[in-house]
């Protein structure tokens, strides 16, 4: 009886996995944060007579690792979500097929980090320090204007950052300090930051919702490493309609780090034509205009109009820090290890 049940399960499983489907299916592997409007996807499906399936596979690192581990028998036709901190690893692993999408022509060169067009930029986000406006106003405390300012005594115990070993914005902020102080100087900066009471937590959720004073968690720190778009999200997802965001980002030159997210066609896809269409679709205006409020990232396509909330509450930093993906790939493990030694031990 039990054996029978078990066998039935097995058969059902295998059938469920291999069942024939009606229209062609396009599978997109992404990280957990991917989001899109139902309407937008439906339009694409109707226009191309295709069913789009998404597989979410954990955070950026986990999703990429899974894509790499299955590169000989890919789970999907496309992989979206690798960012510039992981780009070299993805390219070295050779998971993508190049595709010189015509849509790339409209996109500024600063985003196109892979000259062979294996990974195509879709969106970007600036990892910036968010601050609690009310806190600073109530104390007449000036807003810090540089990374150096954060080591001043008046900002003692006021900043919470994420562990770069376990968090993507944490790594981005570490890279911002590397870009600003250089590979030789960043550790010294972190040591002073540590003396000034910087709080380190493992993930963005904890930092934002537990430690940050302006979030619903009402934590003790009025500054948190988050995204330049977070103040806009605070308004969109406010408990009661707000006319002003309770938070804002420090967008002074060199204080933010720009993350760029890429999509690519996975090697070995059986749906090359449809996959190309989907890449074009992601770079196109419809998706690019839909994406900001879904993922709170900014479109790389300059033709896309930014939603009102972004314009009003999420001004983009003018000179965000960047580092070349190759430099990041070569040094990230060592930087993280050294950082861990300097800040956590």
């Amino acid at each position: 009886m039990k054996r029978f049940f078990f066998l039935t399960m097995l058969v059902a499983l295998t059938l469920a996995a291999c069942a024939p489907k009606g229209p062609a299916t396009l599978t997109v592997m992404t990280h957990d944060s991917f989001a899109v409007s139902a309407e937008v996807v439906k339009d694409f499906e109707q226009a191309n007579n295709v069913k789009v399936t998404f597989i979410k596979s954990g955070d950026t690192g986990a999703a990429l690792n899974k894509a790499i581990l299955t590169k000989d028998a890919p789970l999907a036709d496309l992989f979206y979500g690798v960012d510039n901190t992981f780009l070299s690893r993805a390219l070295q692993a050779g998971i993508y097929e190049p595709y010189a999408s015509p849509s790339l022509a409209n996109i500024p060169a600063e985003f196109k980090l892979d000259p062979q067009n294996r990974a195509l930029p879709v969106d970007y986000g600036d990892v910036c320090i968010n601050y609690d406006k009310a806190y600073f106003a109530a104390r007449n405390l000036p807003i810090p204007e540089s990374l150096e300012d954060l080591t001043k005594p008046e900002y003692k115990d006021l900043l919470v950052v994420e562990n770069p070993a376990t968090s993507s914005p944490g790594l981005a902020f570490l890279l911002a300090t590397v870009a600003h102080f250089g590979p030789e100087g960043y550790l010294k900066y972190w040591e002073t930051l540590r003396e000034n009471g910087v709080v380190v937590v493992d993930g963005w959720e904890t930092a934002y919702y537990t430690n940050f004073s302006a979030s619903s968690g009402r934590g003790p720190q009025p500054m948190v490493v988050s995204y330049a778009s977070s103040p806009a999200a605070e308004v969109v997802f406010a408990e009661t309609p707000l006319t002003e965001s309770p938070t804002a980002s420090i967008i002074a030159p060199g204080t933010c780090f720009r993350q760029i997210e890429f999509v690519g066609i996975l090697k070995g896809t059986q749906q090359r034509v449809l996959a190309e269409k989907f890449v074009d679709f992601m770079l196109g205006v419809t998706f690019q205009e839909d994406m900001p409020l879904q993922m709170f990232m900014s479109p790389v396509n300059p033709a896309a109009n930014l939603p009102e909330a972004f314009v009003q509450y999420a001004p983009a930093p003018e000179q965000p820090a960047t580092l070349s993906p190759d430099l990041i790939a070569a040094n990230r493990d060592r930087w993280i290890a050294d950082w861990t030694e300097a800040v956590l031990r």
Partner: protein
């Protein structure tokens, strides 16, 4: 007359020994078929695939020598915190088990339910609860600051070792209450009374009779608790903070963030070896003390507290449990209806105000997101997965637990391997699943059925460990009595075994149910957005800023707790015929 009886009996014996060898071999192996196939396919195969990727000779050489330091450091800390956590859990859990098994008091079912809920609480939610209570801006600290006019929080809890230990006690006490409490409830009360009459005071009777008789179940429960603490992940990350790293956390960092698969595989292997070693040692200890006693009705052991010392114990223990379990959890439903006006920004005086906005918002797909999770759908998915997990793990666990209850050499050998799924790194196993199941004939990776399968992997050790002591406690003569009265094997099972193990089966079912409801890792492993579960929904809300998101996450957490509580109540009420008699 008698003569003839003897003859026919000896004929029967002769017949069964002749053709019986193959038959008895099959009978010994049969209970293991399901589990071996299941574990082989869904545990050992993916694990072996991924470990081989990391641990083949070529890639082993890439492990840097200074990695040994990482291994040593994380191993030592893992041991240290797991030992402390287990001890603390025993310290709270044993008196709690005693309280539930021996005393009848008002609100007992509710308190019992309360202690079971944390087990399925996703770590993010539990961490939010602890923060609301003991965090730097938690009620306790805010209260103390207001009371004494302090500038900063007097209690540092989050990101200390204490937070880790406290959370582990919070999560795992229910294991002791279920496993040890069940054994205690069915212990023959006359043994303790015999000791009392022979001159033992209550204390000595407990230490010299009750405790030794409970040893197998205490050891079983301790092993489960220890393994849970040993492989702790979310609690370390969220409450321990970046300064603490267990093996599992280190595996995650190495495998996912640094992509050092060889080192991750090595760490996984070490963790597995230790799990196996603990299980073997446990098996050795337990076989030495296995005792069958005539099981007793749980009711006959129950009494109301009479003496002032008993009253003090019941009152004190119940209050302690209430504080330990209710306070951190109460903050969640409260938060789910309390609006914390972030815009006002006054930092010490927290302005609460009640709202049902979050709940109504749950049903609104504000941004027309493709991945919007309708709460009802998440709920039904969660329940469906949980039901499948209960059925599957009981179906697989029962034959094995029955075989283990009368262990032969085969059973003693295989027993420790059953515990391995608890000790395997979820991160590594997740990668193993991806490698093993992405191609036909087992292209399961995209099948939603993989979720209950993964949940069953985790629940199975609990199910087996809950059932085995109960099955082992049934004296053979009871079965023989039933058989000799003309009952068929099936009938014997239903009239003898079932009434005795029905309570243990309930405990096992509840374990499986809660494990499945709260599990996040395996669900996220291959999450098909079409099949969201409640924990997935919670994580989705918590991954974006905004008061509504936070409020909705708390809503979902509250729904999860209510569903879990209702599920447990339902399972406890659900009695098959005859189950109530024991």
């Amino acid at each position: 007359m008698r003569q003839r009886d003897n003859e026919s009996a000896s004929q029967r014996v002769g017949k069964s020994t002749q053709g019986g060898f193959a038959e008895s071999l099959i009978r010994r192996i049969a209970p293991w078929l399901g589990v071996s196939l299941f574990l082989g396919l869904f545990f050992f195969c993916p694990l072996a695939r991924i470990l081989w990727l990391g641990l083949n000779p070529a890639s082993l050489l890439t492990i840097a020598p200074d990695s040994l330091l990482i291994i040593r450091h994380s191993l030592l800390f893992t041991f240290y915190q797991a030992c402390l956590s287990t001890l603390l859990t025993l310290l709270v859990g044993l008196p709690a088990a005693y309280l539930f098994a021996r005393f009848d008091f008002r609100g007992k079912p509710l308190l019992r339910l309360l202690t079971a809920i944390p087990f399925m609480l996703p770590t993010v939610v539990a961490a939010a609860g602890f923060n609301a209570l003991l965090g730097p801006r938690g009620w306790v600290n805010l209260g103390l600051m207001q009371l004494f006019g302090l500038e900063s929080a007097p209690i540092t809890f989050v990101h200390t070792l204490w937070a880790i230990l406290f959370a582990h006690v919070f999560y795992n006490t229910t294991i002791l209450i279920r496993v040890v409490g069940n054994a205690l409830a069915h212990l023959d009360p006359r043994l303790e009374q015999a000791a009392r009459i022979l001159g033992a005071d209550a204390r000595r009777a407990f230490w010299q009779v009750t405790l030794p008789l409970l040893r197998p179940s205490i050891l079983a429960a301790s092993l489960l608790v220890f393994l849970f603490d040993f492989t702790s992940f979310g609690v370390i990350l969220l409450l321990g903070g970046p300064r603490f790293a267990t093996l599992e956390v280190e595996i995650y960092k190495q495998a996912i963030q640094i992509f050092n698969l060889p080192l991750a595989a090595l760490l996984t292997f070490i963790q597995l070896l230790f799990t196996l070693a603990f299980s073997i040692v446990y098996g050795r200890i337990v076989t030495g003390v296995a005792v069958t006693t005539t099981p007793h009705t749980a009711q006959s052991n129950l009494r109301r507290a009479r003496a002032w010392r008993e009253k003090l114990f019941v009152g004190g223990m119940a209050s302690l449990l209430l504080a330990l379990f209710l306070l951190p959890m109460a903050s969640l439903p409260l938060r789910s209806v309390a609006r914390l006006e972030a815009a006002r920004g006054e930092r010490t005086a927290v302005g609460y105000d009640l709202t049902s906005n979050y709940y109504t918002e749950l049903f609104v797909n504000r941004l027309d997101s493709l991945f919007y999770v309708p709460p009802f759908k998440a709920l039904t998915n969660s329940l469906l997965y949980a039901t499948m997990t209960v059925v599957l793990s009981l179906a697989l666990g029962f034959p094995v637990a029955s075989a283990l209850a009368r262990p032969g050499r085969l059973e003693r050998f295989l027993d420790p391997f059953l515990m391995l799924p608890l000790g395997a790194s979820a991160v590594t196993l997740g990668l193993g699943f991806i490698v093993a199941f992405n191609q036909p004939p087992l292209a399961l990776i995209r099948s939603p059925l993989l979720v209950p399968i993964a949940h069953t992997l985790i629940a199975l050790p609990f199910v087996i460990r809950s059932l085995q002591p109960a099955l082992a406690s049934i004296p053979d003569r009871l079965r023989q009595a039933a058989t000799s009265l003309g009952a068929s094997p099936l009938r014997t099972w239903f009239t003898v075994d079932w009434p005795i193990v029905s309570r243990a089966t309930l405990a096992a079912a509840i374990f499986a149910f809660t494990v499945s409801l709260g599990e996040f890792g395996a669900t996220a492993l291959v999450s098909r957005p079409e099949y969201p579960t409640l924990p997935i929904a919670i994580y989705r809300f918590l991954s974006q800023p905004g008061g509504l998101n936070y409020g909705q996450a708390m809503d979902m957490a509250t729904i999860l707790m209510v569903v879990c509580g209702a599920g447990i109540l339902l399972i406890e009420r659900f009695r098959l015929p005859g189950a109530g008699e024991f």
